[in-house]
Every structure is written in C-alpha cells, then in structure tokens.
C-alpha cells in the first residue's frame, strides 16, 4: 500500500470535473454516491479554474465536465473557455435536459469540443420512466442540434434489464440521429445501481442476445459510427482494468472539491481523500495518502499477488471489492480466481429470480428525498 517509493508516478491524463450533484433526472443507476445530498456544497469558479490550470500543467489533456448535470452550473461557459485556453479537449457529459440552441452556440464559442448526450431508451415512455423526468423529445432535439453545430456527437445509453430488449431500436435511433459514436454502457453496479441491482441486472441470455445485435450493427456502420461497448463485468471471467490502474491516469474532482482516484472512491474507508481547497493538484497526485494507496502491486493479497495477470487488470476494482466483500484489498470478486466469486454468482442468481418472479419491488430513484435515507 501507501509509501512505496519505488513506484514511478505517471502524470494524470484524464480530469473528470464533477461540477455538481444537482440533476433534473433521477436515473436509478446513477454513479453518484447514495448520500450525495450530504456533499452538496460546491467549490467556487476560481477553485475550478485553479484545478484546471494545475492539472493541465501536469499533463492532463482530456477533460470531462460531468455531474450531476453540469449545465446547472451557471459558470460552465466560463470554465469551458478557461479549459480551451489551457489546451484541454473538453467533453460535456450531459443529460441534454435544458440545453438550448443558444447555449450550444455559446459553449461552442467558448471552445467546447464535444457533447455527449445520454438517452435512457428508444421510446418516450421508457425514457421518461427511467429518467424520472419527461425528457425524451428534448433529448432527441438536443442530439440533432449538437450534430447541426458541428460537434462530434456521442450518444450514451446505459443498458440494464428494463431497456436491453430495445437494443435494435436504440441502435436505429442512434443512426437516425447521426451519432458519430455510440456508447453502450452496461450498468456498473455502484451507488444507486448497486441499490437497484436485482431490478436492473439483465440475465446472461439477455446480455448475449444484445451483444450479438450490437456487434452485427458495429460491422454494418463501421465507416460512419464508432461503438464503445462497456462490458458487463459480472459475466466476465476476469475483472476490468479499473481506472487503467490506481493513480496512473484518472483524476476525479467531486463537486465539494474532494479529489478522488476514481469517482466511487469516496466510499472506501481510511483513504482520507484530499480536498482541492486545501492542497495543490501536484501534492494531491504525487504525495497524498489516497492517490498512493493502491499504486503499483505491493498492496495486493493472494490470489492477485502471485497472479501473472496482475499488471494487466491491477486486481480489478477496489470499490467493487469493498462493496461486495467488505475488504478493499481483496481480489475483485468478478475474477474467477477470487475465492469470493460466489457473491457474483449469487448476485446474478438473485437478479434472475427477481426477473422471473414478476412481483418486483419498485426502483429506488436517485433524488434528494431518497438520498437523505443514506
């Protein structure tokens, strides 16, 4: 764990700026923490500008403006302009809700490079149900405007049991909207998605059918559209190479200024994640306890420690290990070599039973009322 001086520290390349936890949508798979309502104080425009400047100086080049809904921050155009002046490639990761043509032009003028619009489903009823907000028509209109004004258009659809059957229609919609990229993000079970897992996780047969459809479509549209497929890791034999390795590439700053090695790391105990209002980005990246905690491989237990794939997947995800085994040093239980892989198989079986039972509990939507329960 922390303190090994032998590890060569690489500079951050990716800065995820979670500007706010405010969001007009209530998606039940949101990756924000369940208790986000307790962290609702937001750092200032000047703090953000300093964060952007310092991280850029270290080598960060990809910048994601995310949230919550980043459009709810009135200083977004000012931050985009600052980012452009620094040479970042700026990505706006938005629900599209409330994004007017005027705002799209204003952000373009400020130097925004790309807008990723999320859509929840291919039909209005399901989209608006999952989003918890009537938003389907305005999202499609925003997607058209993004394209019209010369941005690369990325359509992001989070995939789960309620929409996985719409895969052909979702892909047809992406084609019709002229998306340059489609991100098919199988739900990752953290935060709200973890709380709703029995209701959201598709069966293995559903995954396989959907992946086949996506694969065929990918070949059909290869010269005009790129497809990013975020794998459903519960059904894999090996864990994902989470964050490309802890503290190697990704730096997330939460709305309250907390610096996180990944956007879920707030949940891990004893990391003492530093805050940008108290430390420089350089101190945070190079010297903080949190960013050094799982750097390298010295922290690993068995079976990771002696595994010949440890440099490939870095033991998987620390947050998933903690969430599912209670031990953040454990092998990600997704791995078939993990002695605790049974928790994954049990989760799959439990979701399957829920799918077949027909008397499912309602989804827990992400909103401040529900957040106060955590």
């Amino acid at each position: 764990m922390a303190g090994s001086n032998k590890i060569k520290i690489t500079p951050p390349r990716w800065l995820l700026a979670e500007l706010t936890y405010k969001c007009p949508l209530q998606c039940p798979y949101c990756s924000n923490p369940l208790d986000y309502n307790q962290h609702n104080n937001e750092i200032s425009t000047e703090d953000w500008k300093r964060v952007l400047s310092e991280a850029r100086k270290m080598g960060a080049v990809q910048l994601g403006f995310s949230g919550g809904e980043p459009l709810t921050r009135p200083d977004l155009p000012e931050l985009v302009k600052h980012a452009r002046e620094l040479g970042y490639y700026s990505n706006l990761i938005t629900s599209g809700y409330g994004l007017t043509e005027e705002k799209i032009l204003q952000l373009k003028e400020a130097g925004l490079d790309h807008i990723q619009v999320s859509i929840q489903a291919s039909t209005q009823d399901l989209n608006d149900h999952i989003a918890g907000t009537e938003s389907f028509q305005s999202k499609k209109e925003v997607a058209r405007l993004v394209k019209k004004h010369g941005y690369p258009m990325v359509l992001c659809v989070v995939i789960h049991r309620e929409n996985i059957h719409q895969m052909p229609e979702i892909l047809a919609m992406a084609e019709e909207l002229g998306a340059d990229y489609v991100e098919l993000a199988n739900t990752q079970y953290y935060g709200w998605a973890h709380a709703n897992r029995d209701l959201l996780m598709p069966t293995k047969e559903q995954y396989e059918a959907a992946e086949k459809i996506a694969q065929d479509f990918k070949e059909k549209v290869a010269d005009k559209m790129k497809i990013y497929y975020v794998i459903p890791d519960f059904h894999e034999a090996r864990p994902k190479a989470c964050m490309n390795g802890w503290g190697t590439t990704f730096l997330t700053i939460a709305p309250d200024g907390m610096a996180l090695p990944c956007h879920s790391a707030r949940e891990l105990p004893g990391l003492d994640c530093p805050n940008v209002t108290e430390h420089s980005i350089s101190e945070i990246w190079n010297e903080s306890k949190a960013f050094n905690f799982f750097r390298g491989t010295d922290w690993m237990k068995e079976p990771c420690g002696s595994c010949d794939e440890k440099e490939k997947d870095f033991g998987g995800c620390r947050c998933q290990a903690y969430l599912l085994t209670g031990d953040m040093y454990a092998t990600d239980p997704v791995c078939h070599k993990s002695p605790e892989n049974t928790v994954i198989q049990e989760a799959i079986a439990s979701a399957r039973a829920s799918a077949l039972s027909g008397d499912e509990k309602p989804l827990i939507f992400r909103n401040s009322k529900n957040s106060k329960k955590y």
């Binding site: 080049v61 990809q62 990229y181 694969q215």
Partner: protein, 99 residues
C-alpha cells in the same frame, strides 16, 4: 472489430484534397513532448513522422503535393509508399477525410 470489406472500400483518392477531420484535434503536448490526436474521450499519441504527415493534411494538398512537400522538407526521396500507407490508416480511423 472493423469488418474487412469496409476497409477495402475506404482508400485514398490521389486526385482529391486531403483535410484533417473537423471532428478531431491535432495538438502538440508539451508534457508528453509529442503530437497527439484528440477526439471524444480519447487520445492517440503520434510519432514524429506520422505527425508531420498529418500536419500536411490541411485542406490545401492532395497526395502528390503532400509527398513532394515532405520530401522537400526533409531533403529526401522515396517517401511515397510510407506516406500512402499511413494515410490509409488515418482515413480508416477517421483522422482525415476527402470530400
């Protein structure tokens, strides 16, 4: 996975102007001491020769002009095959385009 048939269809037309994709950005990265291509949530690091070729794809030159200008710039000859091979890759990746 890009299907083989699609790759065969996309190839450089020697008579047409080549321009860098408006959906990508070519930029020098001081921290990395190299040129990179930036696109939504991604980055490709370039070696020097690839970067030099892409900088010539500025919407004013077709293939022959690019070859001539690079051969002149580096006081050499016989670059055509290497340049052509790289431009095919660049086209397939969407980094450059021809109208």
């Amino acid at each position: 996975m890009i299907s083989r048939s699609k790759e065969a269809i996309m190839s450089i037309n020697p008579d047409k102007i080549i321009q860098f994709s408006p959906l990508h950005r070519l930029q020098w990265e001081e921290a990395q001491q190299k040129d990179v291509i930036l696109y939504p949530e991604g980055m490709v690091e370039l070696n020097q020769s690839s970067a030099e070729i892409l900088k010539m794809c500025d919407g004013t030159r077709a293939l022959e002009q690019i070859v001539n200008d690079l051969e002149e710039k580096f006081s050499t000859t016989g670059l055509k095959n290497d340049i052509m091979a790289f431009l095919e890759v660049a086209l397939q990746n969407g980094w450059i385009k021809q109208d």
